[in-house]
């Protein structure tokens, strides 16, 4: 009985899509935290920097070893960090890049804890450490996911334990934060911390927000707000684990962080990591159900057709990647060789045109080709959302088609399919 309960909580197979999405936010938070400190290497990490060491986190041996780093080693780690960070962000060799990135984070933390070494940085390292345990976060929204391929890769099933541990981490963070505020040296019950915070001098941690002066003159109201925060922090972990209250608790948690970030100078993690971590409480099976509904809607209301050359293996590989990216099933690939008369697809199409480049026929009959199909589909395919900026960058409509034509002309070079030895891919 106990084993069954344990299995259900930690080992039940569930889709890993939420974890994959979360990986992007972990990478962004780490990047925003550390990369900015690289702009002032001489201030932060080189031998001439002012350093503070954290002996309550590292052993003296580790600190001594890292502090001996010559500047060349620091430069090496800066480069290594940037590479592993980027790989982790895009999800290429996700687990390995996560492990190496974590090692780099520990290195810089041991080198100088002055800027990055906050309590929230310690929390972030716990998250990153957990992410090192499995490669599940690379299943989707990643280059690893695209390499593995498969139109249903978005619902790949994995043991749930990693997502559960991340849930427990944030729930415990809220709970013990509240506990620390009302026990031991905490004074949120016995005094009025919110009132003092509202009256802090301008150089203090509270931002200048609209109602600050209003609160600064109302100690009773501040005390009630302080107690409300503590009560919310204590209740939130329980509300998050109860299915009926989960959505409201996620909303409350996100609202809490938005208010916190708008009114206090709090580290990046509060905005970039905690809200996405709260989203990990959404059951991945529910996410998949929502995706399936969207896919069914596209299938019933009409998908856009992508016309490609099925004799070109480079084109085939590209179409497979596009299908893997196409989370909502908004695209239907059509090999023009399988169609007797391509004019039945669209009156403006000919076999020669289809051979020269990809074409997109949208449900309303709009036809676009080459580079411009990416401009259309980047709004439909979630993994291409970020590329909207790239495809619509000023000048992209001039450079993009040129690059596309060059790739299309040389596509036979990009793979070793037998069919291309006969130049079948070549225009």
């Amino acid at each position: 009985m106990t084993l069954k309960w344990w299995d259900r909580i930690f080992w039940e197979l569930r889709p890993s899509i939420g974890l994959s999405f979360f990986r992007i936010f972990v990478a962004l938070t780490i990047g925003l935290h550390v990369i900015l400190s690289f702009f002032y290497l001489d201030d932060n990490y080189l031998s001439i920097a002012f350093k503070i060491i954290n002996l309550s986190f590292f052993t003296p041996g580790v600190i001594e070893f890292v502090q001996k780093s010559p500047d060349g080693v620091v430069y090496f780690f800066v480069g290594f960090f940037c590479v592993t960070w980027f790989l982790f962000l895009i999800g290429l060799f996700s687990q390995l890049s996560c492990i190496l990135l974590t090692a780099c984070c520990y290195y810089f933390y041991a080198l100088n804890a002055f800027h990055i070494g906050t309590l929230s940085w310690d929390i972030l390292l716990v998250t990153l450490f957990l992410m090192c345990v499995t490669p599940y976060h690379g299943d989707y929204f990643s280059v690893d996911g695209l390499r593995k391929g498969g139109t249903d890769s978005y619902k790949r099933q994995r043991p749930f334990f990693l997502q559960r541990l991340l849930q427990i981490q944030i729930a415990a963070t809220y709970f013990f934060t509240a506990l620390h505020k009302i026990t031991g040296s905490g004074n949120w019950l016995t005094d009025n911390p919110m009132y003092y915070l509202m009256n802090y001098p301008p150089e203090g941690v509270v931002k200048h927000f609209v109602f600050r002066e209003f609160f600064a003159t109302r100690p009773e109201l501040c005390y009630v707000i302080g107690l409300t925060i503590v009560v919310c922090e204590i209740l939130l972990p329980f509300l998050l684990f109860i299915p009926k209250t989960r959505l409201a608790a996620i909303g409350l948690g996100i609202f809490f962080h938005v208010v916190l970030v708008s009114t206090f100078h709090v580290p990046t993690i509060f905005f970039f990591l905690f809200p996405p971590q709260l989203m990990l409480f959404i059951n991945p099976n529910e996410i998949i159900r929502w995706i399936e509904v969207k896919r069914a809607r596209y299938q019933s209301q009409g998908q856009a057709q992508i016309i490609y050359d099925g004799h070109c293996h480079f084109c085939l590989a590209s179409i497979h990647i596009l299908q893997t990216m196409d989370l909502f099933g908004s695209l239907r690939p059509v090999d023009y060789h399988s169609v007797e008369d391509v004019k039945t697809l669209h009156p403006n199409l000919t076999k020669e045109l289809c051979h020269s480049q990809l074409y997109l026929i949208e449900p309303d009959g709009a036809l676009s080709g080459g580079f411009f199909i990416f401009r259309r589909i980047c709004f439909k395919v979630p993994m291409l959302y970020l590329f909207v900026l790239f495809f619509y960058f000023p000048g992209a409509s001039l450079v993009g088609p040129w690059v596309y034509r060059w790739v299309a002309r040389n596509r036979y070079l990009f793979h070793r399919a037998k069919v291309c030895r006969d130049n079948a891919c070549f225009r």
Binding site: L119, T177, P201, G204, K207
Partner: protein, 98 residues
């Protein structure tokens, strides 16, 4: 994470001295590393330098960053009660970089 917040508030100020003239240095010029979404100076990161133990290293750092000054004074600033007497501000020089 604000476990214990009382009526007092403390921080650090750094002064550069040149020709007998004392200039308050902008902490953003001392610690130029930026953060996204918040100002780390407001997180009181500069108060770390108040430890006498960090004095020699911080003095070296200041001399490199602000070679135009002859001396530096690292001063602890304390507001005894931000709610009842927000204007009252006490100063104590912790160390001087000669």
């Amino acid at each position: 994470m604000f476990f214990n917040v009382d009526a007092g508030y403390g921080g650090a100020e750094v002064y550069g001295v040149k020709g007998g003239q004392k200039d308050l240095l902008d902490p953003h010029d001392i610690l130029e590393t930026k953060a996204v979404g918040y100002d780390n100076i407001h997180r009181n990161v500069l108060s770390e330098v108040l430890s006498f133990y960090h004095g020699p290293a911080f003095c070296r750092f200041l001399r490199r960053k602000f070679p135009e000054y002859e001396q530096f004074a690292v001063v602890a600033v304390y507001y005894p009660n931000v709610a009842e007497n927000p204007k009252e501000k006490l100063y104590r020089t912790v160390y001087v970089c000669e």
